[in-house]
Amino acid sequence: MTIFITGLYVDLRNRLQKMIVALETKDTDSVVAAKFKNTTIEILGQLSHKIQGIIDSGILSSPKFMKNAIIKYNSINNQFLEVEGFRFMAIVRWTDKAEGFFEKVVSKIYKEIDALRTTPFITTMSNSDSYFWAYPKYEMIALPIGEEEHILNLSDLYHEIGHLFFHKHYKFFLNKHLDFLEKFYNESELQLKYSGQVSGLGEQMSKTLNAWNSTWNEEFCCDLIATYLVGPAYAWTNMKICTLSSSSNNVYSYQELLREHPPDEARMRGIFKMLELIGMDEAVDIVKSAWVPFEKRTNNQRPQYYETFFAQDLIDSIANDVFEACKNLSLRTYPEQLVLIGENRSVAKSINDAWISIRKDPLSFESWEKEELKEIIN
């Protein structure tokens, strides 16, 4: 058995080394992609070194260490698979047409919002048509394949940029909110108990507070950062998400309250609050003229205690914190960006124009979008 385990380590080291060779022969003109590739080679080199250290340590020849040697092997294999899945695959699939395009888009966004950060690595290997994701650990953002041919969903890019900011400035974005949240939950539980609403209350309060702290705070923050940066376009993108979730009775997360994202309706209220904070009250009225009838007609159900779990006070609390944090980071609001560009084009303006264009004349939107995409990175 010990020789078998040693064989597994040797095989893994060989795989790592072959991956290093494959990466070394992959050329790119992109500075961002080249840096990402070089860091990947470094990580693989460190893993290879770690394997050699275990082989040389002598623990593989004793049955006393077998369990631990297997765990170490699994650990390094997972690290290898993580690099393969998130970094290697992204590098080998990198094209100038897709990733190169988005790299230019994000670089332009960073200049427009005045983000003092280096451009993240972009990949288009996410295989769902609506699924954007960020991986802060590797400072990377993924978009669906073919997304370079569409504008409307690009508001989500700002949400993913939000994840990268959030991971750098976590406490900054939730400055007073965490204490407020805790206090609000404690007081609300007492109030509900006094008013006689106690069925399963304690457990529900504990589970939803945990969800706020583990994922909802971050997701709300990223929505709010996106709204701060891209303005009303983000509200329309969320309205699209709500349209999709309404068909499964999930606008208020009735089907699955404790999912990773907070309910789409609560997210919408956060977006409205941020639009008000950046001075776009008029835009709120326009989106609400579509949102209010939508809410009424889709008639989705609300989970018990919904008004408490997602009270407006909680939404306001997190929105105020994110607004202050964005200001302190000197990020430009969407209206500030508009003033600076004057008559010129910006990525955020193109996305907002796209939402105006499709609502004004849906049938001619395709040709409008095609022309706009040619200009968006100029």
Binding site: N68, I71, K72, I241
Partner: protein, 147 residues
């Protein structure tokens, strides 16, 4: 639209904890072989003094967070996030008969640099294996979410 960052953070906590506990167990096993087994078969084994000190501290901190407060006089350091501690205690620690006694005995031996017996190493391997399973499941979750 990405819960990947949260899953990644949870996975990183599990991976770091599993690796550090596993490394600590390996170091304590090395110490036992070098000091008590007195056999030459594993003459390649090397152990630095600070590596052993860190290993003892890691194991003691990890076990302490699961010992009932009434049974322990030491200040326990929380290693795993609160929610994970609760689940791990319910699913892994509680089914171990007389866990508190076994853990306290083990901690005592580590503190006095005494010989750890096979049964005690089996207990440590059982605990780190359970952590490894959770780490691997979270990793599968992470890869699936990548899309």
């Amino acid at each position: 639209m990405s819960e990947l960052s949260q899953i990644s953070s949870q996975y990183d906590v599990l991976a770091t904890t599993t690796d550090s506990l596993n490394d600590a167990i390996v170091s304590v096993k090395k110490y036992n072989i070098i000091h008590f087994d007195k056999v030459d078969d594993f003459s390649k084994l090397k152990l630095q003094a600070d590596e052993y000190t860190l290993a003892k501290e890691t194991i003691i901190n990890f076990l302490s967070q699961f010992i009932d407060e009434k049974n322990v006089s030491m200040q326990s350091k929380v290693v795993l996030p609160f929610e994970l501690v609760k689940d791990f205690k319910r699913e892994v620690i509680n089914p171990i008969a007389f866990f508190d006694n076994k853990a306290l005995d083990l901690i005592g031996k580590l503190q006095s640099d005494s010989q750890i017996n096979d049964e005690q190493f089996d207990l440590l391997d059982q605990i780190v294996s359970a952590l490894d399973i959770r780490r691997t499941l979270k990793f599968k979750n992470l890869r699936a979410k990548r899309g």
